[in-house]
């Protein structure tokens, strides 16, 4: 099993009446709610937490990309990845990911991912999302009905830019370049690639065609995710793929661990509520631009099944959130048992552990993160022994990696 510590990096200072007084947390949110001075601490706390998780032995540190919102403060995922790359020295840096169609030219992704992979000594997991409609269409102006085509072309260009040893010309519909000659190239060429999806057959196939891991980044939890993940595994069977390795799939789950179940509720309830009430308060008009989903996907009924209203959990009491699996919360024993259900039920090898939620302060986040690392992960580590050699979807770092900061240290001690 691979466990990635993941923080959406929400803005933790939204007012109590945010939901009542604001139309949306995303796209046209009142930007006076942001305070850059407080933001200084917020960013540094969040980056510290990622480094803390690295020290505790999490397999990966997760980072993503969202724009113009208080739900996640990472418009540039690669800056965040770079910020931790020389302090978090063991975990994979899981950038989930760069919304390929937004980078102009898309060779920017090939370059920056290569830089991250080289700096970290081959520790990059590269995520290739299309991006949410809020981000790519409403914030970045990508034309919805053309987003998929632009994404596909960007993908092909990036893969070729990594693979080709010589300069080549690219005459695409969306990008024209006379000289594609990506410098530097990644150590892992290509890095393991994960693709977030939302239940369309096209994305299942895209992952299977390219041997990418399919990630379902849901906020409605593992119980509601069963249908979607089963669709993926059914598709795999239909296509007679050579194996059904659980590492072909990943899932994001909100997890809160405390000494006891009651303590978990006491410690984390308000922060979970902050997330579902304020961070997911997206105006319905921004949720899904016409043309963003293919007609085939809408016809398949995937929308009603797999894309529940983001606000649906806003008023759910703690018990319901727990019972319905939106969050896995409780004592280490409780969490372990439910994680086993998740892992077996969805057949996933990669877990994106949402350990920080809403406005959770760092001390509580550390507490939950540590309990999970020390009292839950060890029991889950070998749930797929028959696939333990499957390295197609995870990093292969250099054995001998540079020690950041070593030049200053040498100078201080007078060594050459």
């Amino acid at each position: 099993m691979k466990f990635t510590w993941f923080n959406l990096m929400p803005w933790p200072h939204l007012p109590d009446d945010f939901r009542q007084k604001n139309k949306s947390v995303w796209v046209d949110i009142d930007s006076t709610l942001y305070d850059p001075v407080k933001g200084h601490d917020v960013y540094n706390d969040y980056l510290d937490m990622l480094e803390y998780a690295d020290n505790l032995g999490y397999d990966g540190l997760g980072i993503n990309e969202h724009h113009q919102n208080a739900y996640g403060l990472m418009p540039s995922p690669n800056i965040m990845a770079a910020a931790i790359s020389r302090r978090a020295l063991n975990s994979a840096i899981v950038v989930l990911g760069n919304s390929l169609g937004l980078y102009n030219p898309p060779t920017r992704v090939a370059e920056e991912f290569a830089m991250l992979d080289v700096i970290t000594g081959g520790r990059l997991v590269a995520g290739f999302p299309v991006g949410s409609s809020m981000d790519i269409n409403y914030c970045y102006g990508d034309i919805p009905a053309l987003s998929r085509e632009r994404y596909q072309e960007a993908h092909d260009l990036i893969k070729k830019a990594w693979a080709e040893p010589k300069p080549f010309a690219w005459n695409g519909r969306y990008t024209k370049l006379r000289y594609v000659n990506t410098w530097p190239k990644p150590i892992q060429n290509p890095p393991p690639i994960h693709v977030p999806g939302g239940g369309s057959v096209e994305t299942y196939d895209f992952c299977l065609d390219n041997t990418y891991s399919y990630s379902y980044l849901s906020f409605s939890g593992y119980i509601r995710a069963k249908l979607l993940m089963q669709g993926y595994w059914d598709r795999l069977t239909e296509r007679n793929e050579p194996d059904e390795s659980p590492y072909r799939a990943g899932f994001a789950q909100t997890i809160c661990v405390a000494e006891t179940d009651a303590e978990a509720e006491r410690l984390y309830k308000d922060h979970v509520s902050y997330f579902f009430n304020r961070c997911l308060h997206v105006a319905p008009g921004f949720a899904d631009a016409p043309g963003y989903r293919t007609i085939k996907t809408i016809k398949s009924g995937a929308l009603s099944q797999f894309a529940p209203d983001l606000g649906e959990a806003a008023h759910m009491p703690w018990k319901q959130l727990v019972d319905e699996g939106y969050i896995i919360a409780g004592s280490p024993a409780t969490v372990r048992e439910k994680m086993e259900d998740l892992i077996k039920g969805l057949r996933v090898g990669n877990i994106f552990c949402l350990m920080h939620i809403g406005d959770m302060p760092m001390e509580k986040t550390k507490h939950s993160t540590k309990l999970f690392a020390e009292q839950v992960i060890p029991h889950l580590r070998n749930m797929w022994p028959e696939y333990e050699d499957d390295n197609r979807f995870w990093i292969e770092p250099l054995n001998k990696r540079a020690t950041p900061g070593s030049i200053s240290e040498r100078k201080a001690t007078g060594e050459a």
Partner: protein, 263 residues
């Protein structure tokens, strides 16, 4: 075909299969619909058909027609519509476009100025004025539309939802599919800002041009009418009271009167 009776027929144009609503008798008139689409029962179409032989092609993706991946940008839309004129063998029909259809019609008249000599643009899209930003219809919920589209939102809303039952899941699914297909296609020229450089080409329009605008248009407000009027040589702007963006159904007679000035 009986006079004034609108029929749907399909034929092949070079890039896409076309669904064409056709009917009426009189001078040939090409009508290009707005982003809301067009049905056989449309009252404005029926009114046109009383005086003209109307040809109203649906943009691919509208009505029951298939979306067309090959039509991506403004030039594609314009050439595709000129292809239809050619396929129908129409010689200088009156060209009328409403909203998005007006944007396409204006482009056609700019790209092929010798082929189009009578043009009526009904509150067309296609320009952008920073001081009068056009509301984002792509982020507008269906229930918010009547307020934007009609002088009388109550009557307009009733018209829009006649026969619709959003509590019926089948109806809702069909509605969502049609909405995604139609607005997805429209978005190629209207999203995120409904402007594709038309202002730089309007000097080429040679057609006698009538602009018709509702005085209560809240979607594309009157200053746009004035801007079009200024940019097209010899054009005339007709301001119609008690009409919003859906002027074609709110003040049908006034629009027909304006088109009549072209004959």
């Amino acid at each position: 075909m009986e006079a004034n009776n609108i029929e749907l027929r399909t034929f092949k144009a070079p890039i896409a299969d076309i669904h064409l609503l056709e009917g009426g008798s009189g001078p040939d008139l090409l009508f290009l619909h707005g982003a809301g689409g067009l049905t056989k029962e449309d009252p404005f179409l029926a009114a046109l058909a009383e005086k003209y032989h109307v040809y109203a092609p649906l943009l691919p993706g509208f009505g029951e027609s298939e979306e067309c991946g090959e039509i991506r940008n403004m030039l594609d839309f314009t050439l595709h519509t000129l292809d239809i004129l050619m396929a129908l063998n129409l010689d200088k029909p009156i060209v009328v476009g409403h909203s998005m259809g007006g944007m396409i019609a204006a482009e056609m008249a700019a790209i092929a100025p010798n082929d189009i000599d009578k043009l009526c643009l009904i509150c067309p899209a296609g320009l952008w004025l920073d001081e009068h930003p056009i509301p984002d219809i792509f982020a507008t919920m269906p229930y918010e539309l009547p307020e934007l589209l009609f002088h009388d939102p109550e009557a307009g809303g009733a018209m829009m939802t006649a026969g619709a039952d959003f509590s019926d899941p089948e109806f809702l699914t069909a509605f969502l599919i049609q909405n995604a297909r139609q607005l997805g296609m429209a978005g190629k020229i209207l999203f995120p800002v409904p402007e594709r450089g038309l202002s730089e080409r309007l000097y080429r329009v040679k057609a006698k041009t009538i602009l018709v605008w509702g005085e209560s248009d809240k979607l594309i407000a009157m200053p746009y009418g004035e801007a079009f009027n200024k940019a097209i040589a010899g054009s005339e702007l007709i301001r119609v009271p008690e009409a919003g963006h859906m002027i074609i159904v709110e003040q049908t007679a006034a629009v027909l009167g304006a088109i009549g000035k072209l004959s």
